[in-house]
Amino acid sequence: MNKNLLFKVLSLLLVASFALTACAPAAPTEAPAAEVPAVEAPVATEVVAAPMEDVAIRWRTRPDNQEEIDVYTKISGELDTQLEGITLTYEPGGTESANYQDQLKTEVAAGTAPDVFWIPGTDVADFATRGLILNVSDLAAATEGYKADDFYAGPMYHLTYNPETAASGADSGALWGLPRDVSTFALYLNLDLINEAGAPDPRELAKEGKWTWEAFLDVAQKTRALGSDVYGYGASAWWGPYGVWLNAAGGGFYNADRTSCALNTPESLAGLDFQRSLYQDHDVATPYGEDPEPVFRAGNVAMFQNGRWATPGVRTVDFNWDVVELPKGPSGTAGNWLFWGAYVINAKTEHPAEAWALVQALTTAQTQGQISALGANIPSRVSQEALDAFLTFTPPTNNQAFLNGIAADANPTAEGPLWAGSWPEFSKVMDPAVQGVLTGATTVEAFGATICDEANKVFVK
């Protein structure tokens, strides 16, 4: 009897676990997901889809938050109706911390990757030289209305780079994709904190041309003094944020033609040392390696360094905020990046022509306008119209700060792949070493003494 009851309880448990799933609303009917057209058994829909009138194309980006997913899902739905003969499915990829690019590489090799996907500019060379993405120069040549000059030159240099001939440009015989967007760093300001601290308004300083490293440090220190849980500055732990300090000091990651490491030049080390002082000597920054975004959104960081992509998320905060360009360093520029990423085509796609059509549709002025209206980035097409429109996409009021960042006279460094080496490997050597410096585990001198010996190995091929 006892055991019998026990058996019953256990089977009940099983039923209970079924019931738990009932808490999940019948996903296909209620979820707004656009990719589930039919409620009934999918096996049936597969049978129906068998005659194949439309070519099914999957595409993927690396969204940082739900807001971005919503933007791209919407775009996908609209393009699906626009593009004839193509059925689109948008799938949000993993995040940066979930190894988006590495996952893609495996999936391309395994044959399960989407037809079109976005990759950051740094990884274009790696994907291209591994043969994972399609060279669409022939398709592009046959396309009416396609012009390489429509896009920013920095990204296009790399997207048309032909590793076999080392040539680049419209007639290099290579085209790896089209840039989705460009972006650049700005400082997101918590104006409430800055006012409370009685610190000067960085936007005013920038207008007067006084927005320098010293002024920046002054604002950071004044706001940091507000309390032990208030920070003057916050930046995430990846190559972008620390790179600008190196660039602004006149240094950089590698030499001009990107064939060797330049992390140990006096300029680079000076830039790194200044950033180190923000963390170690002046103690104005959120702990290096801890995500500053939640702290900023909670209203406890005065200046938060991030790209345009952070805007949709920041728009939800309930304090007064705006953006300002990065402060100018000893080199006379802010050392900003021209970030970019590109839509590329899976080398194993079965429908290259349709995939190319999608890549073009995703980079039209209209689509880009829509995406940048939602706040995530800056159009990658060079046109005054697009830039004028971009300024109206507020908040932030001071959108000009982003445009100043990518303006020619700011001399931004284009985020770039290493055609002469492997960017992922380079980053794998550089990131931990820099983290060591910024957390005070190693000195700048020790960093300078050994870093390039190791980093230069990634160029030897």
Partner: protein, 555 residues
């Protein structure tokens, strides 16, 4: 002995069938190597298929002869071969019908069928109620409620089947089966099934001089077969493959090349060089185009530099071993203490035991996410408690201890410790329960005798509890060690990037994952797996030796 003509006939065609089968399989092997059949198979697969087919062919031929001679072994061979082929055909049929990958579709409709499962549960409840009353109070005897319950359950289940789209699924399955491969496999099922029946019938058994123990042998293998086949395909086979891959440059997608010991050589390629002075740069003493500095040991005015060709492997090994040597004691010693306390006969001990057990059953991924926020340097609870504690002591004793504001997961000094604490927290309760069971197995007379001899509590603990607990301790320590050597999930979730600040949390399994599934170096990853296995094996062996020593003492 009289054999009826039907059986005679069936045995005859079985014999002929064995002959045909033998020739057929041999023919397939030839087709395989001459490239008539798909030639894109991987080499190892080709070899494997050949071995299987040739074996089948030879045994089939022998079987034919044995059936002719009416030897029972002929029947056995025939049954085994036909059974295996039958299973293979069934699997091919199911796979062609996309039953396995069809589980994905079930994921889509399953939730919508749940209300009907609720009906099943309701019917079940009725049954339980009925049983309760019949057994407890003898009210209704064979009641109508039981019948109702059955029908409700059946009805609910049928509705569920409809709702999840089983009908469409079956139609789809049949539709897919009309492919050539599907038809072929169905024909195979029929054919092999028929011959299994033909020679498996009890009349055939008598005719083939089978005895009871032969029947037992057959049913033994039959009962074991699902398990054994799965075990061979998904465990033993892959294990051998893993060894093979470790000698290749396999990348999972193209044909692997044999590279001999190159993978192992790269892992084990290290240099130990003495330094002229502690701060001497690595490039002055080793060829840095091959070696990277892993670490240095300095003493006084000199030191030793440890450099390796694959620096990350050695860092990973160092981290993993540090993890083991921190996490194992941290989860074993408190468990030992707690279990001794819980072993007292005070009230409420079962409650505590249950509480301690909770962390070990929660998903590591979920738990690591929780700890990630607890560890948060700016707003996390752990730093908050530390701050409170320090303030308390400072106020109490008028001290000026400085709040360390530990960056648990972003400082290379504490990152590994953060992972260790989670692991210790998770395994401590499990180990406590194991120790508790060991304690409860120690006969009470031993303690009574010791009390009579005037032994104190400590004496009893040292001289009775610990030695008697030695087997449990061995089990606890070795399982915890094996677990700890494979640490991956906590690190993967907790750290961003998973390597942690300055590679301080890159573990062997993480490095294996990186190599195998992000850089395509699956051959190299396999070699790492074998090195990991050897390390684990070595550690367990050492512990086993220790245990042997203490159990001698015990006896």
């Amino acid at each position: 002995m009289v054999i009826n003509p039907r059986t005679e006939f069936l045995l005859k065609i079985s014999m002929v069938w064995r002959g045909i089968f033998s020739l057929l399989t041999f023919g397939v092997v030839i087709a395989l190597w001459s490239g008539i059949l798909t030639s894109e198979l991987a080499l190892w697969l080709k070899i494997l298929l050949t071995v299987i087919l040739i074996t089948a062919s030879i045994f089939s031929a022998i079987g034919a002869g044995q059936i002719y001679r009416r030897e029972h072994s002929g029947r056995m061979i025939s049954l085994v071969i036909d059974y295996l082929a039958f299973v293979a055909c069934s699997i091919i049929a199911l796979n062609t019908g996309e039953v396995f990958i069809g589980i994905d579709a079930l994921g889509e409709t399953f939730a919508s069928g749940l209300p009907y499962l609720g009906i099943v549960a309701m019917g079940y409840f009725l049954g339980v109620i009925d049983e309760y009353y019949t057994q407890k109070k003898q009210l209704w005897g064979e009641s109508s409620l039981k019948v109702v319950s059955r029908w409700v359950m059946l009805g609910g289940f049928v509705l569920f089947i409809f709702q999840v789209g089983a009908i469409d699924g079956i139609l789809y399955f049949l539709n897919k089966l009309t492919q050539p491969l599907g038809i072929l496999s169905v024909a195979g099922i029929a054919l092999f099934g028929f011959f299994m029946w033909a020679i498996g019938r009890s009349e055939s058994a008598v005719a083939m001089h089978s005895k009871t123990n032969h029947e037992q042998i057959l049913s033994g293998w039959l009962f074991l077969s699902p398990n054994l086949l799965g075990f061979l395909i998904f465990f033993a086979g892959p294990l051998v493959l893993s060894l093979y891959f470790s000698f290749t440059d396999s990348d999972a997608f193209s044909t692997p090349n044999w590279v001999g010991f190159a993978n192992y050589a790269k892992i084990l390629n290290i240099q130990l060089v003495s330094l002229a002075y502690p701060e001497q740069l690595a490039k002055e003493v080793v060829n840095i185009s091959v070696y990277d500095e892993v670490g240095r040991f300095t003493f006084g005015n000199s030191g030793i530099l440890f450099a390796a060709a694959d620096k990350y492997f050695w860092i990973a090994l160092r981290n993993t071993l540090s993890f083991v040597f921190l996490a194992v004691p941290l989860s074993v010693f408190p468990a030992l203490v707690l279990s001794n306390i819980l072993n007292s006969k005070l009230p409420g001990m079962k409650f505590y035991r249950a509480l301690y057990f909770m962390p070990s059953i929660a998903a590591i991924v979920g738990i690591s996410l929780v700890w990630q926020w607890l560890y948060n340097a700016t707003i996390g609870y752990i730093n908050y408690f530390i701050t409170l504690g320090i303030e308390f002591w400072n106020n109490l004793f008028n001290l000026a201890i400085i709040d360390p504001k530990i960056q648990w997961v972003s400082d290379e000094k504490t990152a590994l410790l953060a992972v260790v604490l989670i692991a210790a927290w998770q395994t401590m309760g499990f180990n406590t329960v194991l120790f508790l069971a060991g304690l409860q197995n120690i006969p009470g007379e031993l303690y009574e005798a010791a009390t009579v001899d005037g032994a104190g509590n400590w004496d009893k603990f040292w001289n009775i509890t610990l030695p008697m607990l030695a087997p449990t301790t061995f089990f606890v320590v070795s399982t915890t060690t094996i677990q700890a050597m494979q640490v991956f999930e906590q690190v993967f979730i907790l750290m961003n990037p998973p390597e942690g600040p300055n590679n301080s949390t890159i573990t062997l399994v993480l490095y294996l994952y990186r190599n195998g599934f992000q850089n395509f170096k699956q051959g190299y990853a396999s070699a790492i797996a074998w090195v990991l296995f050897i390390v684990i094996f070595g550690l367990t062996l050492v512990q086993f030796q220790q245990q042997r020593k203490s159990s001698i003492y015990e006896s």
